[in-house]
Each structure stands twice: as C-alpha cells, then as structure tokens.
Amino acid sequence: MSGGSSGGGPAVARRESVLQRRLTLSDMVDLSSFNEVVKSFVELYRVGIKVFDENGDKLSDVKVGNGDFCGYVFSFPEGRLRCTQTVARIKDGPLQPGQGSRPTSQVDPSAPPGMLTVQCFTGLRYLMTPVLWEGDEIGRIIFGPFQPDDLNELPPSLTEISRGLDLALLQTHLGRIRRAPESTVAKVVLNFGQILQSLVAVGQKTFLTTQLHVEATLETNRELEDKNRRLEDAFNKLKELDRLKSSFLATVSHELRTPLTSIIGYSEMLSEGLAGPMNSEQGDYVKTIMDKGETLLKLITSILDISQIEAGKVRLNFGPVDVPELVGSAISSVRPQALKKGVTVDGKPRGAATLVANADREKLRQAVVNLLANAVKFTAKGGTVAVSVSGPEHQEALGEEGYQITIEDTGVGIPQDQFDKIFESFYQVDNSSTREYGGAGIGLAIVKSFVEGHGGRIRVSSELGRGSRFTVVLPMTPPTPRTTQVPPPVVPPDPDRF
C-alpha cells in the first residue's frame, strides 16, 4: 500500500509508466553501437546505409563510393532537382510500391514482401525495407545507391539533364560505386534487417527494464516516504496519548490516593484516641471508615496495576523464590480477613520438600494473595480455603518441569460458562447493582497477567454451591522476554477468496 490513497481513498495521479509509452526506434537502439554495426556493414559490402525512424529522423547515414558521382550530378540544376526528388522518395515516401518504386520481389522472388526497389534517375538503385516492431513500422532501412549489374549504359534520364555533362568523368565516378546484382543486395538488406531486429529486441529489453527499475525505485521511495510520514504522525499521536495517560494516572494517583491516605490516617488517629477518647459506637464508625478507606485504596492500586499491565509497562524481575514460603506469606496477609469472616484457611503449603523456583516474588505473591482474597470473599462463614503446593514435576500444560499452586474453597462456585470470562478485566459473575460481593473485577485479570508473564497457566474448576478450585501451573524457569504482554485486540480479517 502506498500513497495518500491508503485506506481505500481515491488514487493519486502518478507519472505514466514507460510501459504505456509508444517506443521509437531511437529509444530502443543504442546509437553509438548501432553506428558501429552500420559502418562495419558498409565497409564489408561497399554500399551506403541510411536508417530513419518513423518520424523521418536520421539514426545513421554512412556513405561509400558515390560521393564524387552524386556530387557531380548535383552540381547541375536539373540534376539537383531530380536528386532531391529521389532522396525525398526514399526518405519520406510511402513504404508501398509506386512513386518510382516497385516490390523487390518482382525481380528477386526470395526478397521479403515489404522490400522496395527505388530506381534513381542516374540508373543507380536503392533498396528500402521497413523496420517492423509489434506490427508497427517504426523506421526504414535504405541501402544504396548501388550500381545494378544490369546497368549497361547511363540512362537518358541522367544524360539529358545537361549538355555540359562529361560522360567520361561520370563513368569514372561510376566505377567507384559498388556494382552488384539486386538480389545480392536484397540478401544483404535482409541480413542487416535481422541484425537490427535483434538489436531492437535487446535495446527494448534494456530500455524498458532500466526505465522500470527507476520507476520501481521511485515508487518504493514514495511508498516509504508515505509510510514514514504516517508512522511519524502515529508516533506523535501516541506520544501525546501516552503523555495524556501518564498525566491521567498521575492525577488519579495523586487526587484520589492523597486525600484517601489522609482519611485513613486521620481515622487511625481518631481510633487511637489522639484527638480524645471516643465511645465504643464512635470507635466502630471510625473503624468502618478506616476499613472502607483501606479497601478503596487497594482498589485504586489494583486499577493502577491493571493499567500498567495493559500498557505493557510491567516488568517482571525474576530471581530464586522459595514458593512454599511465598505462599505462607500470602496466607498470613489474608488470614485476618478470613478470621474476621469465620473462614478457615488451611495453610500447610510447605509439605515435605522445599521448592525454589525462578519467579518475580512480588508479582507472584500478589497473584496468590488475590486468589486467596477472592476465595475468602466468596466463601461463607464456616467454610474452608485450602492451599497446596506441588512439584517440581513435569507439567503437561506447559510441556516442561514446573510446579502447581492450588487454592480450593468451599464457596459459592462459578457457573461453567463463566470460566473464561472471570479472567477479563472488570468482569463480575454477578454484575447487578445489588450484588452480594463487592470489588472491581480486576483481581483475577491481574492474576492471569502475572501468571502468563511467568510463562504459566491458570485454570479453574468449580461446582455451583460447592466451591471452586484455582490451579496455577508455573514453570521452574520462566521464559524471556520478562515483560508481560497483553495481546492486541483481534481485528476480524476480510473473507478469503480462495
């Protein structure tokens, strides 16, 4: 694609290609090389050769032998007149018989049909033949003058031009002009024509390919310039969008988190009695303000996290991680929440052996915390959340050695048709405004991104009303690159023709 017409717009008028041009003989023949060929022919056969293109422009004119003869005849006014007429006939006259010419084949049946014999008033002769290309006459070849072998005496058309004509001198000059049978000259003309045909074929190829090479280079250059311009425009727009996004994130971060931190801080101060004692009801209220503030802060942080992930800006820093220890730490962080809700977290992930894998500790811990928090959130009082770690062992899902972290709960469960959707950003199984469970629906999206950033997989199985099981399968060593990638939106392609 190129040009300003990208996207289906109207085409830009461009310079016409050489392929649309009608080529002339001059276009297709290298003149200096061609003249060398003509000269060598003239030297070999001692007959002059003229070649004209279709416009009558001379490409080559090599004379031999006839200079004195023709010069002498030309010095007489009538000779000049008749000579001019003959030259006009051969140069500009029709390439058909008539007007002083006849088909050469009348005398020599082997001569090609297009060849003409032009009789000069001096008794000399010319043979002329068209240069044909793709059925067009693109020029003419003229051989002569030569002295035909049937010329026995000077014709009256010459001798009558002046009484002062020195016939003996004319005979002397005539002796320098090649005498040959017309049929022999016709063969030479045919041979010369075939060579010219080859020269034209080579010349056409060279001319067209050279011109087309230049055209293609210009076209490619035009296309590249256009693409560069569009890339530059897109780059500038992206830079501007990036600036706006950064600015937006900074604003969100500052304008939301700063007052929220103050709200939490002042609530904490109130709760600790720094502003004086409070009764128990006031204490409960302030505690609620603190809790909700913390929840809101976490939510804002999560939204910022998912923005970073979707912008591809999250970089995973891999290092050795003691996985059971990491899971234990994650359990510790949700245990207060679980205790409060009356949910038991069965956390004995260490098992018999230690398991050290290569991972980004912080991101992996956050993934496990999110899964645990989710499990606690959707499990009713008296329920259980069980965590286990297994491996290292070969993981079918990854096709390599890895480990699994499984979080199983006895909560509400997830409908089977929602298994894929729960990992999408801002998706909630119950999306109603009166839903029982809060949250922005981004915890699992973050988990999925982080797990996939480690080269791992997450899968879910669940039974409604009985509970859910999230299994995270991770490789011992994550692949590079170490940046999480969110695949770009898929644009449906045009339907295929074949």
Binding site: R15, A216, F498
Partner: protein, 289 residues
C-alpha cells in the same frame, strides 16, 4: 485501454465540438480519446482510440503469487500464437528463472475497418518484494488474469495475492467493477491440488470466471486468454462502444486473434479450427517481427 495521458488531465479537458470528436470524445493533439460512460472514483476512465494512427491498445495483466505459472502462460501462448499476429516474448528473469520486472507478449491485428488493435499481455513479478513493480505493471490494465496455484497449501498465498491485487487496483485507480478479473486455477495435475468440487466452491464465492489449467502442458492457457479477452472486450465496449466507434465486434476481436492460434487439443478447437498444417515460424517480413 492504455491512455496516453494522466487520467486527471484527461478528465479535466473540455471536449471541443468539431468533428470527429463527438459528444463522447476528446481531441488531444492528433489522437482522439473517447470517454467512457463509467465514472470511477478516481475520475473518468478513458479508452484511447487513436484515430490519427487508427489504433487501439488493450492491456491484459497476468497477476498472482510467485511461481504460480504466469510466465509459463505467456511462454505457452508464444508457442501457440502465430508470429503473424504476435511479437517477440520479452522476459526479464533473475538467474534462478524468477521474473524480475515483467514479461511482455504483444499480439496485434488489423480490423476489417482498418483499425490496428494491439493486445499487450504482461505478467507481474510474483515475489513479495516486487510490489512496487507489480503496481506499475498493473497501471491502466483493461483486464486481469489471476493465476492461482491449485495446491491446497497455496490457498493462503492465493488469498494474500488476491488482496494485494485489490489493493494495487485501488492504488492505481482501477475500478473493480470496470476492470474484469478472470481466475485461472493452475497446476490442476498436482497431487495435492484442490478437487473440482472445491474449485466450484471457490467459483461460487465471487463473480469472476474460474478456469482450470495445467499451463506447463498448455492446458487451459488458451481458454484463459479467450475468457479474459472476451471479458476485456465486453467491459471496454460497455464503456466506449467499440462496436459502433470502430466497427469492431466481439466476434471479430476474438477471431482475428484466435484464427491465428494453434487451438489443437483445447476447448476452442471447434470454434477456431487450426490452420493445417500449423504455420511454422516464417522468416520475418522486413526488419522486425
């Protein structure tokens, strides 16, 4: 038809009233260019009928993926068309026989009314990197023969080049409704070629005529040329009324070429019986083909 001027320039010139320029014709120097009835998004599409030289030029472009058989088609046509109505086959290949720029086979004849008709058959280079050349060769095409590879594994290549053709037509201002495309499914003899039923399915997907071929054996090559020329004639005639303006009918257009073609073994043999014996390559008349 290949016009001698840029479309924008042509479209902007007013039509003088004096003869022979009718209400549908433009006089530009010695050439009379007839406007078509159709108006494309890029402006008026023009057909060049050069009255001064009594000449019409039709451009057919063989398009398609690399190694699908575009050059083979032209090589086969070169051997089947009598030198009386065709010129030399110009090919520009790389050392490994890949088309570098294009191939060109000129075909020409005189109509009964004395007009010279030149049909120029071009191929484009198939390799991906030569898109700029493809676009240039496609300029001013009157019809396109899309040479697809029948092998199942090549379906994606075919689709990719089909889209490339659409893009380059659009880039060149060629209106898809006015420039007919004929599809040749080449390499029908290969083991993993699509079945006839599968090709019928492809045929039903679009309006383009689809012809099976084994170009390397000459099968389907003449049929493809006949179909693409027929489509080209009909499209040009619909726009510029060739039958009225230069008294060239579809039958004459096709028969002037195909009566000089060795149609033996093809579906056209009955319609255009080959001359017996098939003419050998005669010595050139004059100094050219």
């Amino acid at each position: 038809m290949a016009s001698g001027r840029s479309r924008a320039d042509q479209a902007s010139r007013p039509c003088p009233t004096r003869s022979p320029c009718s209400d549908r014709a433009l006089q530009t120097g010695s050439a009379v260019l007839y406007k078509t009835k159709g108006v494309s998004h890029a402006g008026l599409t023009l057909v060049q009928l050069n009255h001064a030289q009594r000449e019409v030029t039709v451009k057919i472009v063989y398009y398609g993926p690399g190694l699908s058989g575009k050059t083979t088609n032209l090589q086969m046509l070169h051997t089947r068309i009598s030198p009386e109505v065709r010129g030399r086959l110009l090919t520009v290949e790389t050392h490994d026989d890949r088309t570098l720029f294009f191939d060109l086979l000129p075909v020409f004849f005189h109509t009964a009314s004395g007009f010279k008709v030149k049909v120029k058959l071009f191929t484009v280079p198939g390799q991906v990197i030569h898109n700029a050349t493809r676009r240039i060769v496609l300029q001013n095409a009157d019809a396109v023969a899309f040479i697809a590879d029948s092998r199942r594994s090549m379906a994606s290549e075919n689709n990719s080049y089909w889209k490339n053709l659409q893009e380059n037509m659009r880039e060149n201002g060629l209106d898809a409704t006015q420039v007919p495309v004929v599809i040749q499914y080449n390499k029908r003899d290969l083991p993993e070629a699509k079945t006839d039923a599968e090709i019928d399915e492809v045929r039903r997907k679009g309006k383009e005529k689809v012809i099976g071929a084994v170009a390397i054996r000459g099968e389907g090559v003449l049929e493809t040329l006949h179909t693409v020329l027929q489509e080209a004639y009909r499209s040009i005639d619909a726009r510029s009324n060739l039958s009225k303006n230069i008294s060239l009918t579809e039958d004459e257009f096709l028969s002037q070429i195909f009566k000089n073609v060795d149609t033996r073994g093809s579906a056209l043999e009955r319609k255009y019986p080959p001359k017996t014996p098939v003419p050998p390559t005669p010595p050139p008349s004059g100094a050219g083909p």
